[in-house]
Symmetry: C2
Subunit: 412 residues, 2 copies
């Protein structure tokens, strides 16, 4: 008998019929002999409705009040879930964040869980009952309701699973697992049976939307397996777990792409100490997150110069161009050049560590389709290339093909 935390997202509890389906699924797991704790998001559309109300009440709603408002979404879905279970003959209690002992710190609307005392949940489990917990919310030391920001319900589920010493955290969603790449882009995309935390973190950072980074990190820190699976299918999904030797057999396990980038270059910056820091400080001060940074020094007329390039999130592009325009003469740079027609394609795999020639194979594959590489960054288990946006999908397909990802990796 294991302890399972099941988390269902907003689209899985969008109406009472779906809630009933989810309730039956949770009850079935309990009837198989497991101890079951359910974590729910708000019914799909509810959070958007509340945000619209808040925006109408105030152009810039107070975050503390927004948290109190938004947390009602999960309060409603959990109460309805508990009622539904009762109508199916199963006694279940719902718990709000503060009732589940979820203490947070940090700012409203993006609080972080600092501790969990799940005493009330364990009491229910000891009585042989299920518990359903409102995701996305907690309470701070001052007694105020907080929310955890994007992907908050996943974080609740994983953190609660850790606190309860659960055997697995099941994330039920509207896809049936983690794919080798985006199936909308590449018809050959294949669901993976297993993926390790590190790979999942890279994929999430690089554009895969299934899992939020925070909850993967948390699971990794406590070695808690996450099972990502479809809410309305009995099939197994993808297990996010510790790296095992089989995963290293293949150099590349996933391809991802992101269209949410723009590139900015300061040309012919004088190559002096402190110039890079100066540029990045301007961005940081404006709360702009710089991703890739590349500096190409070259000797030319008048001494050492460098073209300094970096990427920022697309929504910050215009603002960043303005800021850089403001310092271009201070830096004795020639000009600021921007490009928002770029994409980032990446390959990820823990096996990369032990396989030589992966980068070369990637560049060759792109070259064979006449795709020019603008920037490159690497880490131990991933390689990312900035290319022209129009080639993004083609690049994904050609990399997926080159690394034989459709074929499976013998993982079982």
């Amino acid at each position: 008998m294991s302890l399972i935390v099941q988390k269902y997202g907003g689209s899985s509890v969008a109406d009472l019929e779906l809630i009933q389906g989810v309730a039956r699924r949770a009850i079935a797991a309990k009837n198989e002999g497991h101890r079951v704790v359910v974590v729910l998001s708000a019914m799909k559309g509810e959070t958007d409705r509340l945000i619209r109300l808040a925006r109408s009440a105030s152009p810039d709603p107070d975050p503390r009040e927004l948290d109190s408002l938004l947390s009602t979404g999960e309060q409603i879905s959990t109460a309805l879930f508990a009622m539904t279970c009762q109508s199916l003959g199963e006694k279940v209690k719902s718990f709000l964040g503060f009732q589940a002992g979820i203490i947070t710190s940090g700012p409203h609307c993006r609080a972080r869980i600092s501790s969990i005392d799940p005493a009330r949940i364990t009491t229910e489990l000891a009585k042989g009952r299920m518990a359903v917990v409102a995701g996305f919310q907690g309470i701070d030391r001052g007694g105020d309701v907080t929310t955890l920001g994007r992907g908050g319900s996943d974080t609740t589920a994983v953190a609660l699973a850790v606190a309860l010493g659960a055997d697995v955290c099941e994330i039920y969603t509207d896809v049936d697992g983690i794919y080798t790449t985006d199936p909308n882009v590449c018809a050959d995309a294949r669901r993976m049976d297993r993926i390790c935390y590190e790979e999942m973190l890279e994929l999430s950072s690089l554009g895969a939307k299934v899992m939020e980074i925070r909850s993967v990190e948390l699971a990794m820190n406590y070695d808690l397996p996450i099972h990502v699976r479809h809410a309305h299918s009995p099939k197994e999904g993808t297990l996010i777990c510790r790296e095992d030797p089989s995963m290293e057999k293949t150099p590349v396990r996933g391809v991802t792409h992101s269209m949410n980038e723009a590139r900015i270059t300061l040309t012919r910056v004088k190559d002096e100490p402190g110039v890079a820091a100066r540029i990045l400080q301007v961005a940081a001060k404006a709360d702009i997150v710089v991703d890739m940074i590349i500096q190409n020094t070259s000797v030319s007329e008048g001494g050492l110069h460098t073209d300094f390039s970096f990427t920022v999130p697309l929504p910050d592009y215009g603002r960043t161009m303005g800021l850089m325009g403001g310092i271009v003469s201070d830096l004795h740079a020639e000009s600021v050049v921007g490009d928002d027609q770029i994409a980032k394609v990446s390959i990820v795999g823990v096996g990369m560590r032990n396989h030589a020639g992966v980068a070369a194979k990637m560049f060759q594959a792109l070259a064979s389709e006449n795709i020019n590489i603008v920037m490159i960054t690497t880490s131990e288990i991933k390689i990312s290339c900035i290319i022209e946006k129009k080639y993004a999908e083609l690049a994904v397909r050609c990399l997926h093909d080159s690394f034989d990802l459709a074929k499976g990796d013998g993982e079982g």
Copy 2:
């Protein structure tokens, strides 16, 4: 500078425009130099929407879950109120029942406030800020969210006013005060400037719907004045306060009627000790609240017999008839006769204590319109008559006229 608790009902916060009006009103009171605490109901329609959801989830929703669900209504209205105030330049914090220190006991869905520790509210007031509190809700000793049942937000407002030592509790509603009778029935109905707690309690018990009995009782126990007034009019309403000598000058201050009654008679019950108790026990066991009780003993063939009559709420009529049918032979009674075509008209006034002939004048007034009286009950400050339902409105008008209620009572 006084401390004012203002309570606004659901129709006063039904949409964001109305919430803004209410926010301006509260801010105006603060700008006049008062310390202001606002208590809100849910936006009109929201509670009904949630109850419909609950009924769809389960035919008999668990009361604990229903409380968690319904309490979101006030959570939403208070958060939106606080945001609206902020957009108007006023810093206001919202507080849920548990944050306002409202501890309850008793069953879910009709919990009672057992204590209030308004420390967080007083902190806000000390900082020169307003606070807005979610009405209708509290938390029990086990940490579960509770609701207070019908009229619960009024109770929250009055109890909080008592706990804070407020000077007055203002109840803002969609009528502009307490009337001498129902203005829909009698065009001459007049708003009273003042009414004492005892009169208000009788009027509420006898069918007036403006104030719930519990909150009037609470205010009376702590001698807290309640000001009932219109949410969207600047005019003064009616002050519910301690009895003063001026009120005793007039014998009758209000007329009320209720169509929500039915009468049941067991005929020719043997007049023995314990028979009345037996009948009422059967009703009590079925949770049926008996209102008026009348027993007419007469000597007839076969010894002492009595016709035993009582009234019950109309919705319990059928059930009560069935129960009485079941014991009619045990009691050696002749038959059970029911009548659901009745109404109760009542006159109320603390001056009745010192004025003779009030009852006679009432009966005469009804007789002059050929209205037959079926049952009568009296208390120190009220007289109620059961009459045929079809005469209810006529009776109200003729009593209002006979006791000169349109004219005013020199109260000021």
